[in-house]
């Protein structure tokens, strides 16, 4: 178990985002330290998506700062954050449907091997892209689906492909936006196993509705309600927290 004394990889400091009169992010300060899985939970409309948006650079916060790997990234464009090692997967499956699984990951690899202003050389047989891409696919268990169009993959496989793409740049932090969404029980269990194995190598911020998965995976959990972080702690602490029970889980909604 890593100690919390470790320098955080990602931290937000009093992040605020308003949409009109709605306070979507209300003074949120959270952090993720290397080697941990920090889960972010909360009911629908709690502001999880807005918070993720600010972390990835799709939404600009009104105030507060975001630091990543020792650097202020509050106003950094998305693609630069990715190059610092902050990768994400999408809540709604977001793969390049017209490309094969291998091409999807190859593009993800390509994003990290210098600029792509190369107009003439054929990239289709470029082993410096394909090799790592193939390994990436094997890592998530899609090795035998390399030449299948992404659109033709099953939902679960597309979610795995998502992860492979996010991992391609060897990120230090993975932002996983509901990786288990829409998965069957079996697929979920496989994904949980995979993420747990991955934990030693990279930290994760996990947004997930599946409480089973959250309590199985998370080292720490932060509960977001109406844009505010009402509680943060180990799974056991969160389970015991009265505010959380009342505000979010409801007294009988607790997961065993």
């Amino acid at each position: 178990m890593t100690t919390l004394a470790t320098q955080p990889l990602l931290s937000t400091d009093r992040l605020v985002k308003r949409f009109g009169g709605l306070l979507a992010t209300d003074n949120v300060s959270i952090d993720v330290v290397p080697g941990e899985i920090h889960a972010l939970i909360g009911p629908n409309g709690a502001g999880k998506t807005t918070l993720v948006g600010q972390l990835t650079g799709n939404v600009t916060p009104d105030s507060g700062t975001i630091r990543f790997a020792g650097q202020d990234i509050t106003r950094l464009p998305t693609h630069k954050r990715v190059h610092l090692g902050l990768a994400r997967s999408f809540q709604i499956t977001s793969v390049l449907r017209e490309f094969t699984a291998l091409e999807n990951v190859a593009l993800a690899v390509q994003a990290h091997v210098g600029h792509s202003f190369r107009f003439l050389a054929d990239a289709r047989n470029d082993e410096s892209l394909r090799g790592p891409a193939r390994r990436g696919l094997e890592e998530v268990g899609l090795g035998d689906r390399a030449n299948t169009l992404a659109a033709a993959l099953s939902h679960g496989e597309q979610r795995q492909l998502e992860i492979a793409m996010a991992l391609a740049g060897d990120p230090s932090l993975l932002l996983l936006d509901e990786p288990m969404a829409g998965m069957g029980v079996e697929e979920s269990q496989r994904m949980i196993g995979f993420l747990r194995a991955l934990k030693s190598k990279r930290a994760m911020l996990l947004i997930e509705h599946d409480m089973d998965a959250v309590f199985q995976l998370a080292d720490r959990i932060t509960v977001l309600v109406y844009g505010r972080a009402i509680a943060s702690g180990t799974p056991a602490e969160i389970r015991a927290n009265k505010d959380v029970r009342q505000a979010y889980l409801g007294d009988d909604g607790m997961v065993a």
Binding site: P77, T78, H83, L107, F117, F119, D122, A123, M165, G169
Partner: protein
């Protein structure tokens, strides 16, 4: 190379290219000079269509102002020619640079928008240049201007129809070659990925705007090349060469031929010109005097193409591997 000839697509493509390569000999043999002039325009329009396809077909960017590059390339040649600068060695680089710079400028402004806004802002920028052209009293305003053809002394004489045709054909081959490399390059993969899902590409770490801007600019350069050739073909420039209908025609051609395919724009241009030339006599055959109203048939054809023929002509040749 040889294996490609075994597929219907490869065979047809090779045949079309072969016919185009020897077209001046054919038209001379059969004494059909008029066909050579159509052939020249087909080749020039193909260059423009291939260049539009780079952003429209591969990039998914619906630019509704691509004919502006006909105008920029053409006017650069024409204006220099009107001032007595007739050397192609000066005219052509200036025209290409002008088209490239203009493409970079409007690309930088337009690519900030998306959807209908992008369609309309590209159209508006083309209209802007169109009206400027119409306001240039010194260069014929709306009536346009007769110009002399670019001179390459001691090298080639563009007044010779066959020579000029082969120059255009060489330019088309060069454009196709570049496009074929581009489509499969790292750069091309980024552009095609962004068409599929630009949010995803950004999240992968690609500065999508920058790549699109370069693609837009390159597309403008080749569009400018087509403009240079078009001005030389008719020895004439006018705002009409960049009217918005021409931009629409170019979109029609690319979709008709097959978006995001290498030879689709070429097939599309041929089909477009063949329809334009053959619909009037065909209509006259069925109903005398209706030939001049051929667009009453062509318009609904476009609607049907938009509704039912998504893959274009290219898809008739079978599935792509």
């Amino acid at each position: 190379m040889i294996a490609a000839l075994r597929t219907p697509r490869g065979l047809i493509t090779a045949l079309v290219l072969l016919v185009l390569a020897v077209l001046p000999l054919l038209t001379q043999a059969f004494d059909q000079r008029y066909l050579l002039s159509i052939g020249t325009r087909i080749v020039i329009w193909s260059i423009a269509a291939v260049s539009l396809n780079m952003i429209l077909g591969y990039g998914g960017l619906v630019s509704f102002g691509h004919a502006v590059f006909f105008g920029i390339g053409g006017y650069a040649v024409g204006i220099l020619s009107a001032h007595g600068v007739s050397s192609g060695w000066i005219q052509w680089p200036v025209a290409l640079i002008a088209a490239t710079l203009w493409a970079a400028l409007i690309g930088a402004l337009s690519l900030r928008t998306r959807g209908l806004y992008f369609i309309m802002i590209t159209l508006a920028f083309a209209q802007l240049v169109y009206y400027v052209g119409g306001g240039l009293e010194a260069y014929g305003a709306d009536d346009g201007l007769n110009i002399s053809r670019s001179r390459f002394p001691g090298l080639i004489d563009l007044r010779d129809k066959a020579t000029f045709y082969w120059l255009c054909f060489a330019a088309l081959c060069g454009t196709l070659w570049f496009c074929s490399r581009f489509a499969n390059s790292r750069f091309g993969h980024v552009i095609r990925g962004a068409k599929s899902n630009d949010l995803r590409m950004t999240a992968l770490g690609f500065p999508v705007f920058r790549y699109r801007l370069v693609a837009f600019t390159l597309s403008g350069t080749f569009g400018g090349l087509a403009g240079i050739l078009l001005a030389n073909e008719g020895a004439y420039i006018s705002p009409a060469m960049m009217s918005w209908v021409k931009s629409g025609d170019l979109i029609v051609i690319v979709v008709l031929g097959g978006m995001g395919t290498l030879f689709g724009p070429l097939f599309g241009t041929i089909a477009f010109f063949v329809l334009e030339e053959s619909l009037p006599p065909l209509l006259n055959l069925f109903a005398k005097g209706w030939g001049e109203y051929w667009q009453i048939v062509f318009g609904p054809m476009l609607i049907l193409i938009a509704l039912y023929a998504r893959g274009g002509i290219d898809s008739l040749f079978g599935q792509r591997s």
